[in-house]
Symmetry: none
Subunit: 89 residues, 4 copies
Amino acid sequence: MSGSIEIAGDQLRAIIERIEQVEEEIKELTDAKKEIYMEAKGNGFDVKILREVIRMRKQDPAERDEQASLLDVYLQAINGASPAGKKAA
Amino acid sequence: MSGSIEIAGDQLRAIIERIEQVEEEIKELTDAKKEIYMEAKGNGFDVKILREVIRMRKQDPAERDEQASLLDVYLQAINGASPAGKKAA
Amino acid sequence: MSGSIEIAGDQLRAIIERIEQVEEEIKELTDAKKEIYMEAKGNGFDVKILREVIRMRKQDPAERDEQASLLDVYLQAINGASPAGKKAA
Amino acid sequence: MSGSIEIAGDQLRAIIERIEQVEEEIKELTDAKKEIYMEAKGNGFDVKILREVIRMRKQDPAERDEQASLLDVYLQAINGASPAGKKAA
DNA sequence: CACTGGAAAATGCCGC
DNA sequence: GCGGCATTTTCCAGTG
């Protein structure tokens, strides 16, 4: 009766503790990351650009180019839309 | 003609303008909100605490539900796999 | 005695309600914005790029160029660092 | 020499590599966390509810404090401008 | 005037 | 493949 619940309860507790443990470790690393950024900032680096560099390195080059050209397409589409009839210039 | 490049320039413009319009309105309201806080501050209220009160009021309804069903939640978690009162399957 | 508290209480309530009212309106507009993006997506536009276009339009050109060139500086600094002794090439 | 352009390339590289290293470790832990959830799911637990339980446990201590001092908070808000028991100033 | 903390936005992920 | 959720990132106001 209370048997299967007890067992599940123990299991549940174990799961929760494991997850909380891992989350704790993640938090430590996240803090470490922040510190590195802060240190970099202290050395005169621009944190925002730094993040962008890291983001770029994560992305594969093909994908990057594709996004860049799509952006160009959009920008040109905006400029080339209706204003001043340069439609097919 | 420029063909595949000229992708719906007019449509794109329309979308962008609509979004920018909405963002403009949001900005106005955000400013109004700030003004209310400032006015409150001028009347001797502590803005930080005011924000906290509002935050709590937002969370409270949700919180109440969660609190009320905490035990249920645990019980469900323990045998969440049997959805529909399959007691002991 | 309870006098000044009462008055302040009314005032407090009024402030809170005004803010909550404004926040409600902001939420509606935010939802509207989301819908526009979703509609655009339904028409084949890339939401992420769309967001970038809008972000770019908000930023003044000078600032934009500055960021872009700083990014270049960083990227070149990475490539030109130690590897393969091209230090002063 | 390239002068002002060659801005601390080595330093920059070191920073980036450190960050990427830490992010790698975070990713491993994140994956571990996911695995725990998956394992739990395999044992009949409802992942969504599990997440909720963990979230509540995180919020609970803070929540308790906030709840306990709600009245205080309101009272402070009402005369927050007099910090240090200036009774009726 | 840079730092800190908190609100708002954006991105990525997971399940359906 | 899409919509919703959770995390992460960015922005901004207050503060020393």
